[in-house]
């Protein structure tokens, strides 16, 4: 029990080794979900679990969609700049 606690504590001692590949961009998902949860938790006047889940999912997907659109635009600009 105590040993497993120390093993768990070691997770918080050293920084994680995250590569600079495209897959590291997936780290935007947990923080996006967290922001959606907190934002909708304080924004909705009448909060019920069903409505809340729907609103959070909607905001999360919208935010993710906007990020994807931004990514495509930036990729297009980078391609154009590469051709010049």
């Amino acid at each position: 029990m105590l040993q497993s606690f120390f093993v768990l504590a070691q997770l918080f001692r050293q920084p994680m080794n995250i590569s600079t590949t495209a897959t590291s961009l997936l780290w935007v998902l947990p923080i996006g979900l967290g922001i959606s949860l907190v934002y909708k938790a304080i924004k909705l006047e009448d909060i019920t679990p069903r409505l809340f889940v729907r609103e959070v999912a909607l905001l999360f997907v919208t935010g993710l969609g906007m990020l994807l659109v931004t990514m495509v635009i930036l990729l297009g600009i980078a391609r154009l700049a590469g051709q010049i």
Binding site: G34, I35, V38, A41, I47
Partner: protein, 143 residues
């Protein structure tokens, strides 16, 4: 006169709710009787905070090296998380240096965002009319 007495007894001091919201994310809402809201806020902010500390190591909450304005901003931002930040500060070695790399950058970002979200929750506890929006009419359907 006698009817207003029970209402006055139920009024909770808003400043105490604000202090609780700062100390423990979600505790202010919980104190005001909004248990679902408080629970969600607590789980979400503590989750982001813990993930940030896991990504960057506990040394990202660094009270020693705050000479530059940027470092000061990050540190005070992290302090808005309240008790989790204090636990993080107490848990670190005094002689350990902060790591570096993408994990530290991401971890600092996560903990900073957790602090800013908690600031939003404190404002919501103190001034709910400023933040809330009425439930949209489209959510209720007629049979």
């Amino acid at each position: 006169m006698a009817e207003s007495q029970p209402e006055q007894q139920n009024v909770k001091p808003i400043y105490l709710a604000g202090i609780l919201a700062w100390l423990v994310p979600g505790a202010g809402h919980w104190y005001l009787g909004e248990h679902f809201r408080g629970g969600v806020i607590c789980v979400a902010i503590c989750g982001i905070f813990l993930l940030g500390v896991m990504l960057g190591g506990v040394e990202i909450i660094d009270p020693h090296n705050i000479e530059t304005i940027t470092a000061k901003a990050w540190f005070y931002d992290q302090l808005i998380c309240g008790v989790p930040s204090v636990i993080g500060m107490l848990a670190q070695d005094s002689d350990a240096a902060m790591g570096f790399g993408r994990g530290v950058d991401l971890g600092r970002l996560y903990v900073g965002v957790a602090g800013l979200l908690n600031l939003l929750c404190i404002v919501d506890v103190l001034m709910p009319r400023l933040v809330r929006q009425p439930t949209r009419q489209t959510t209720t359907r007629k049979a």
